[in-house]
């Protein structure tokens, strides 16, 4: 399978959007999203077929062409199971996000262009095997967010857009320093920016010790690494629904993927050396994020803080450095992506009808909007780790993997992280009990309608993803596992 198609389809769609008539923009964007979904499912099947014959944990469908030969920068793409999982996630979230934007009226063309373009950046990032190329796509995925929040956002949108982009740019700057550190060293080994080449050459320990923190923290900012997570609540809550979904469902995953694929994979010894710091920060994020969520009264703030807590599991899994825990981290990325996108979709639907996101003002919506309420409850149950939905699978894999670390420090961190399942249940049920259940608080709510076809389709799509992972986790585990083992094995060797 030609991976460049994954990049070309959204890119061409986004360019075409600029040239068609305004009333066909939505259809074109949706068509592009369907094509991406089909492509990524096709990728999954052909990956299954090919990987059965290939060596476990190797990159497949590689393609390499010179880009800037002078600096040894290549257009080098390829995927392993982890990237395939992330691509699938992206395709699901893109499609759901576009469906949820059906009613955007203001500057429609620009809106759908930016959404599709952002998607292209994400696909490009996940297929890159060249560090420079990867960095390039990372930036492609950041800039549109500034405009999406700044133009179509709500509340203190300018502040939020500035904050988000500045903090993510600071993360990018750290990543860039880290990349140059790696490049500078690897260049003398003729590795250039090539990920596979650098990985097989290895990086001397002292270089690793210097540059691992840059790369890990840089990417970590994208995935809400404590204490650099404060862009998340403001950014999410000011963004329009689809942008929130993209932000939580895709952008935050760029960071987790980068931490894993670049920082940990290339510098395993440094990762092991700093692992206790990662685990410490991740545990703080998990438990502190959960407690901070308890005090939120705005649904979007609630879900954003809960994202900080849930993304903590991603970093916790990576920091534990056992194959199971790293697998769990990837599963958590997929699960959190689907679940948060669903949650933001549900919140967006509620907000569009009731014009409030304050839990205290909502009440008894199950009666008037059974479908939206069910979506909300399913997202909530997934968030609190109900078996049968994806969150359970991911969290349990992280816990079981983390438990393999026998030192007391890691044991305590795991137990503390486990405690978050109780706190999560508290804030999810408080919000559900007030907004969805209970008596209807305002009589005008009685007149509100349930979800429209596009919203239903978006909800069903994401729930299907959540169920496919939650009920039958083995296929995803088998897809991701070899890649995770490959990353951790470098440490042992």
């Amino acid at each position: 399978m030609n991976l460049s198609l994954l990049l070309l389809v959204p890119l061409l769609t986004s360019i075409l959007i600029l040239f068609v008539k305004t009333d066909s923009v939505k259809k074109l964007a949706l068509g592009g999203a369907v094509a991406q979904l089909i492509l990524s499912l096709g990728l999954l099947f052909s990956y299954w077929k090919e990987s059965a014959m290939a060596e476990a944990g190797k990159f497949l469908f590689e393609y390499k062409a010179a880009w800037f030969p002078a600096f040894q920068i290549n257009y080098h793409v390829g995927v392993d199971g982890i990237s395939v999982a992330m691509i699938l996630l992206t395709a699901f979230v893109v499609m759901a996000g576009i469906l949820m934007s059906w009613k955007v009226e203001r500057m429609q063309k620009e809106f759908f262009f930016l959404l599709t373009f952002l998607g292209a950046g994400a696909y490009g990032f996940f297929i890159s095997l060249d560090l420079f190329l990867m960095f390039f796509f990372l930036e492609v995925a950041v800039i549109p967010k500034f405009l999406l929040i700044g133009i179509w956002g709500s509340g203190k949108k300018i502040y939020s857009a500035n904050k988000l982009v500045l903090m993510l740019m600071a993360g990018s700057a750290l990543v860039l320093i880290g990349l140059f550190g790696v490049y500078y060293h690897a260049n003398s080994n003729t590795g250039g920016f090539d990920l596979t080449q650098i990985a097989s050459n290895g990086i001397p320990i002292d270089i690793q010790m210097y540059f691992f923190p840059f790369l890990f923290v840089g990417f970590g900012i994208f995935t809400a690494l404590f204490p650099f997570h404060t862009w998340v609540p403001d950014g999410h809550s000011s963004a329009p629904t689809a942008a929130s979904m993209f932000l939580a469902g895709i952008s935050m995953k760029l960071g987790g993927y980068g931490c894993l694929r670049v920082a940990t994979y290339l510098m395993p010894e440094a990762a092991a050396h700093y692992s206790w710091i990662i685990v410490l920060l991740a545990t703080i994020a998990v438990i502190y994020g959960a407690f901070a969520t308890l005090m939120q009264t705005d649904l979007k703030y609630m879900n954003a803080y809960s994202s900080v807590s849930h993304c903590g599991f991603v970093l916790l899994g990576i920091g534990m450095l056992t194959p199971t825990a790293v697998t769990g981290a990837v599963l958590q990325m997929v699960s959190h992506g689907l679940m948060t996108a669903l949650f933001f979709a549900a919140i967006g639907m509620l907000y569009e009808r009731t014009h409030t996101r304050e839990v205290a003002q909502l009440g008894g919506l199950l009666k008037v909007m059974p479908f939206i309420s069910t979506v909300f409850v399913i997202a909530g149950l997934c968030s609190l780790g109900l078996p049968g939905l994806s969150g359970f699978v991911a969290e349990m894999t992280v816990f079981v993997g983390a438990w393999e670390r026998v030192e007391l420090f890691y044991r305590i961190a795991t137990i503390l992280a486990c405690m978050s399942i109780v706190v999560t249940a508290v804030y999810i049920l408080r919000a559900t009990g007030k907004a969805i259940m209970g008596p209807i608080t305002e009589s005008k709510y009685n007149l509100l309608g349930d979800a429209s076809w596009n919203e239903r389709l978006a909800g069903v799509l994401l729930i299907a993803g959540i169920l496919a992972m939650g009920l039958l986790p083995f296929w995803l585990k088998d897809l991701v596992g070899p890649g995770a083992i490959e990353i951790v094995q470098k440490l042992k060797a």
Binding site: F228, L294, L366, T397, M419, P473
Partner: protein, 644 residues
């Protein structure tokens, strides 16, 4: 050997009914959804009977013991080579007994609800939740892997949450459903950590493998588990006690019981099924499932079980004497009876007659399911009739509700342990095993038995005798046929199921043994029960001022018991005052002020800095000339000094 397909079908039929009712229920006409669910469950029940029959009458091997069979198992999630969550079916005496109990009680509740819930707006939703619960409960009891148990454990928890909150527009129902979920979730945290510890030393999640590895004291696994420890307690004890915390949460053992009385906000048939007969005994079942490990490898953890059980039994019985809500009295009585089962397991040994307590706990679980489901369904009829839960609105109902009155009396006699009703037999075995093992526990258990008889007959007399009949009700009938038939069927079992020779089927090691009635031993408990009934008869058969004056004279003691020992208030203090005010609020504040403040300060500092140096780019030529000349002079000085 039961047919694997039969067990799989009986397990998945309720799931099918859940999907049909959940997805298309609103479109089904009338009560078709409920009838469909009832029909599928009836098939499930028949299949459970056939599976249990072929297990109990066809599987005693050469050793003369009931074997533990795993007729079906698939890998659901493989963590690493040795660790995987397997989904399987484990057939042994307790699982086979439980599928019969679960499907039977669930069937009775399904039939009863056809009448009781008729005309409800969300009728199909109700049945879809009932089916989801039945599926999850069957999955739980059939689990072959402790993680599988945990998965279904959570699923019964969520079904219970959905059903307690069925009347979702009622704030008290919403609060109760949240409370039930969160309290049991808290307990499940213990369960989860316990699983992690246990499996770390047993290197597996499968029950059979865990038992094989951790029971023999000489095995490397159990030696590692015994050697490791934390705070002076061995890792194995930690693991089992933490798992028991999960069980205590689900089974509403002190001090994790606070959700159960509130859970009575759910529809009454739901209370009968989930909060009396099946889900709340899951904790007992869990201890029984791990009993070889508890008993042979870690008696210390079993003591915890015993004491938790007996304290809960007495504690709940005391509270039950003072409550006036019919369903709350029954809820506390459930807690008390589960306490009985728990301490029976706790005092039990392993193997043959030594394992009498184990057998008695399972026996009591069985008989209790029958008479307690009957009591709750009877309460459903009564509440349906008088439209109130409160005892003060009831009285003299024996004429208006003859069938309910008679069946309720049978159930009360059974729970009070009066021969020859079922509770007598199971309770006697429990008392005997306590007598053989721990005298203190035996004495407390006797006191509880007397209290039980008293509060149950206080309930019975207050409802059916006491005042003359409350004003004639617009309801002419006691209830529909679908409500009364389950009462009659359950009454038969509540009366006679004590004659089942339980020890020939369910024993700790699978080897059947004979139990005998010890008449001289039974005299004392029966006498206590009879005197409990007599006191209730004396003061509650007719209106009397004595109970009120007694409660007044005992003053603060009575108030403390009536207020349930203020346990709820303690919890509220800990959660609202301590957790919210001292952890959550500071965390949110810290995040908003300190962490975010740091970011904003950094941004502001950058802004101030850039503003201050932006003056350098003034665009005025003379300024640039100053900088140029100043720079040139500075450089020149630097050069001169460095050369010198």
């Amino acid at each position: 050997m039961p047919d694997t397909r039969v067990i799989l079908i009986l397990l998945f039929l309720p799931l099918l009914s859940f999907l049909i009712n959940g997805l298309f229920g609103r479109k089904l006409p009338g009560s078709l959804g409920g009838l469909l669910a009832t029909a599928t469950l009836f098939v499930s029940f028949l299949l459970s009977l056939s599976a249990a029959y072929s297990y109990f009458f066809g599987s005693v091997g050469i050793t003369g013991a009931y074997e533990t069979l795993i007729p079906f198992q698939v890998t659901w999630l493989q963590f690493s080579e040795s660790f995987s969550i397997n989904m399987g079916i484990l057939a042994d005496p307790i699982s086979m007994m439980m599928i019969v109990v679960v499907t039977f009680i669930s069937l009775m509740v399904h039939v009863f609800s056809l009448g009781y819930m008729k005309g409800e707006e969300r009728f199909a939703t109700y049945y879809s939740f009932l089916s989801l619960f039945t599926f999850s409960m069957l999955g739980l009891v059939l689990s072959s892997n402790i993680f599988q148990t945990y998965i279904f454990w959570e699923l019964v928890g969520v079904s219970s949450f959905l059903l307690i909150g069925y009347y979702y527009q009622k704030p008290s129902a919403v609060a109760a459903s949240k409370k039930a979920f969160i309290v049991t979730r808290f307990a499940d945290l213990g369960f989860l950590i316990g699983i992690l510890i246990l499996s770390y030393y047993g290197k597996s999640f499968d029950f059979v493998t865990l038992t094989e590895r951790l029971v023999p004291a000489a095995s490397t696994y159990s030696q590692a588990a015994a050697a490791a420890g934390f705070l002076g307690i061995s890792a194995l004890t930690w693991a089992l006690v933490l798992i028991f915390v999960g069980g205590a949460g689900k089974s509403a053992m002190f001090p994790l019981h606070i959700w159960l009385p509130d859970a009575m906000e759910g529809p009454t048939p739901v209370s009968a099924l989930i909060h009396a007969a099946t889900m709340v005994v899951a904790g007992v079942y869990l201890v029984a499932r791990l009993f070889p490990i508890f008993s042979l490898a870690c008696p210390g953890a079993l003591d915890v079980v015993a004491w938790t059980g007996i304290i809960s039994a007495l504690f709940a019985a005391l509270i039950a004497c003072t409550q006036t809500d019919i369903k709350r009295v029954l809820a506390y009585s459930t807690m008390s009876q589960i306490g009985y089962m728990m301490f029976a397991l706790g005092v039990s040994g392993y193997g043959a007659e030594e394992g009498l307590g184990y057998m008695a706990a399972m026996f009591h679980l069985f008989t209790h399911a029958m008479f307690k489901a009957l009591l709750f369904l009877g309460a459903g009829v009564i509440i349906h009739y008088v439209h109130s839960n409160d005892l003060k609105d009831m009285g003299g109902l024996r004429k208006a509700l003859p069938i309910t009155g008679a069946t309720f009396l049978i159930a009360c006699l059974a729970i009070a342990g009066i021969p020859p009703f079922s509770g007598f037999f199971s309770k006697e075995e429990i008392l005997l095993s306590a007598y053989n093992s721990n005298y203190t526990i035996y004495i407390i258990a006797l006191i509880t038995a007397g209290l039980t008889a008293f509060y149950m007959f206080r309930l019975y007399f207050s409802i059916f005798w006491n005042k003359p009949q409350v004003s004639a009700n617009e309801h002419k009938h006691e209830g529909t046929l679908s409500m009364l038939i389950p009462l009659l069927i359950l009454a038969v079992f509540a009366a006679f199921s004590g004659f089942i020779p339980f020890s020939s089927f369910v024993t700790s090691d699978g080897i059947p043994f004979e139990t005998h009635l010890h008449l001289e031993f039974s005299i004392l408990p029966v006498l206590l029960s009879v005197s409990g009934i007599a006191i209730a008869w004396r003061y509650y058969k007719k209106p009397s001022t004595v109970p009120a004056s007694v409660s007044q004279k005992t003053g603060s003691l009575y108030r403390t018991i009536n207020k349930k020992f203020y346990i709820d208030e303690i919890y509220l203090f800990v959660t609202k005052k301590l957790v919210f005010q001292l952890i959550a609020r500071p965390a949110a504040w810290f995040d908003k002020t300190i962490v975010d403040g740091m970011m904003n300060t950094a941004a502001a500092a950058a802004q101030v800095f850039s503003l201050s140096i932006s003056g350098l780019q003034s665009g005025k030529l003379q300024h640039y000339a100053y900088y140029f000349i100043g720079g040139a002079i500075g450089l020149a000085i630097l050069f001169i000094y460095s050369i010198a």
